[in-house]
Symmetry: C2
Subunit: 396 residues, 2 copies
């Protein structure tokens, strides 16, 4: 039996999972016990009664974030429920620690009711320095994140929503730098308006891109179909963050005509060569569906694409959230931030883009590698600065 | 500033708390990441979708328990709320690990509403192999534990209720052995009917002690005052687990006359010499209020007590929950038990008592030391056996 197991199953079986929770100090003597437990432990308790902020000094709160899922939208696996999602959450915690030294504990919720998720997370929040939501389906994830951030005084961050949006934003900043175009000249099509797509659309607008078109399960997004959409897409239309297509356009192929950039956060093999060929000259393709992108890089290149990014590690320009969330969490915890602000997200995007110097920048190198050791601490510093800066009147 | 801090505060500040959550394996290479996270992680997820029990093989679930508090009855500190209780919960987790190797993560709940506590713990349960409730005030703790154990398929254990009761039971077994008395001859007074006291009363009855009298904040417990009591005391009266005092007895002093054993889980300095002198010859005193017992051992001895126990480490016969919960949790997790049964608790009590051989047994040595290395694994084995034994018709 055991010999037939795959390497991944053996890896997970070896230590029964991937995370361990252990005392930092050895408890050898009675004196150790007197300090770590009764009677010594009463002192930090009473200090925290006097000033809750001291929990950051005397407990793990300042070091540990919760990684919370309801198992409704797990990686490529879909709605597999809470317990089967635990290996992914342990893995995410392990990644966070590897890249940032920030610790995380997985919480898999036995409910997919947004109100119950919100109440449960509020109830368990005192232990944690921040909440990372993970693999919760859209549009519930948007409401859950907003209400939690509204009600809690610690950062709440849904990586699926913002992580990709920040990395794509950094990529677009460097696309503009490389092609010497202004962001407001670029016409962009975003395919997918779920957790990631909707926030990509939002951030591209905030960066100054004025023409962002969207495509989703209902087809080309446009104002006349307003009632078809979930509240997230409606908000984007209300804010004019999604441009209405000119004329009577119904297909993705027609939508892509005359556009400069395609960003896919949708489904494998959605694009064909013809669609890419219909774009403006030197089209830019970010095909981020994982593991099978909207169009394979070699096909996109054959159709004329000059800058190509995917979510995969085996092609250049990997758009991977791990470039952002470790540094963002580290900076937020160091700043004892009470929320993840737009300023912090934008700071992360600009910082990530700026890590590549002008002379290094090329169509195959618009983002740092996930193994680039400068990334986490640079982003942490940028986010720390953004989190601790006195508010100014300027709108970011 | 820092120089003036006490050793306990410095100890807690050094690493910012006492627990760490870290990856077990180094994630060095891309291959490591492929196994620990995507794409490899999908395999254990899908295995657990097929069979939830495999979470015990592929995740931390089988290794980690939650230590859950609402901060309502913390050690000697009382109702200090969730966050200030975190140092105690980290300490309890550290103790559990030190004595058993079982890992634990603290969850401090920002609610003291029993229904919300129950719902929250149910919602977060998938991550954990067992739930240890901690420092939740009575009588809520009783209802919370029962409903959770009823609704969850993992062990739920409130140490404050059962830990002390199991250790006191072991002590009473050895008192009977040492004094060559039958348990059903002993007349016992229990002072305090909260979380610990009520369960001491219950377990003493289950051990075969027939005369258990109780004293609490309302005075001597008796049937005619039934309506005064909380539901826990009412249940004990309904089950005839609390004996009605003979005649019209209203004071603790009168209640103790003619009794053999006093067990205090109540308040410092409640007893005086005269009360002890009024007991039967060679009285036995377990004065477990902490840190100041119901009567100091030297005073009890002066008044004639022959066997004396306290909760303190600086006197013989320390009645300390740490003798039980590590082994009980270890055995329960090893057995993948779905609940903590009465059989497991009784097995723990008998096992703990039996660790002291006849020739070793003395008035100053009726329980093993908390540092006795045999204790955890012996109790774990006894509980494992009790948990995995086929149910018989015999009532334990």
């Amino acid at each position: 039996m055991s010999e037939q197991k795959s390497p991944a199953l053996k890896y997970h079986e070896l230590h029964r999972g991937k995370l361990q929770v252990t005392p930092i100090m050895d408890l050898q003597t009675k004196e150790d016990l007197n300090l770590a437990y009764t009677p010594g432990v009463a002192e930090p308790c009473l200090e925290i009664v006097k000033d809750k902020a001291l929990a950051y000094n005397y407990t793990l709160k300042g070091r540990v974030v919760a990684i919370v899922t309801d198992g409704s939208a797990v990686l490529g696996l879909g709605n597999i429920s809470a317990l089967p999602a635990l290996p992914v959450m342990e893995g995410k915690a392990a990644l966070l620690y590897k890249f940032s030294g920030i610790e995380a504990f997985p919480i898999c919720l036995d409910t997919q009711d947004p109100d119950k998720i919100i109440e449960t997370v509020i109830n368990i929040a005192p232990t944690f320095g921040a909440i990372m939501l993970e693999d919760i389906s859209a549009p519930n994830c948007v409401r859950i994140e907003r209400e939690l951030q509204d009600k809690l005084d610690i950062p709440v961050f849904h990586d699926d929503q913002h992580g990709t949006a920040i990395v794509v934003s950094a990529a677009m900043l460097n696309v503009a730098r490389l092609t010497k175009k202004h962001l407001d000249e670029l016409k962009v099509v975003v395919s997918g308006t779920g957790a990631a797509g909707s926030n990509v659309i939002r951030m591209l607008n905030l960066l100054g891109i004025k023409s962002v078109y969207a495509y989703n399960i209902h087809g080309v997004v446009n104002r006349k179909d307003y009632d078809k959409y979930d509240f997230v897409v409606k908000e984007l239309l209300d804010a004019n963050y999604i441009s209405d297509p000119e004329g009577n356009i119904n297909s993705l192929e027609d939508l892509m005509k005359g556009k400069d950039v395609f960003i896919g956060l949708s489904a494998p093999n959605l694009l064909n060569e013809k669609m890419v060929k219909g774009m403006n000259p030197n089209p830019i393709i970010f095909a981020l569906a994982n593991p099978i992108p909207e169009i394979m890089p070699q096909l996109a290149r054959k159709a004329g694409a000059t800058i190509i990014g995917t979510g995969r590690s085996d092609y250049p320009n990997q758009i991977n959230n791990v470039l952002v969330f470790p540094g963002l969490m580290k900076g937020a915890l160091q700043a004892k931030a009470k929320s993840i602000t737009l300023e912090m997200k934008l700071a992360a995007a600009y910082c990530l883009a700026d890590l590549i110097k002008d002379k290094e920048l090329s169509p195959e190198y618009i983002l740092p590698s996930v193994f680039d050791e400068r990334v986490c601490d640079s982003i942490a510093a940028a986010c720390y600065k953004a989190a601790t800066k006195k508010p100014s009147r300027k709108k970011a």
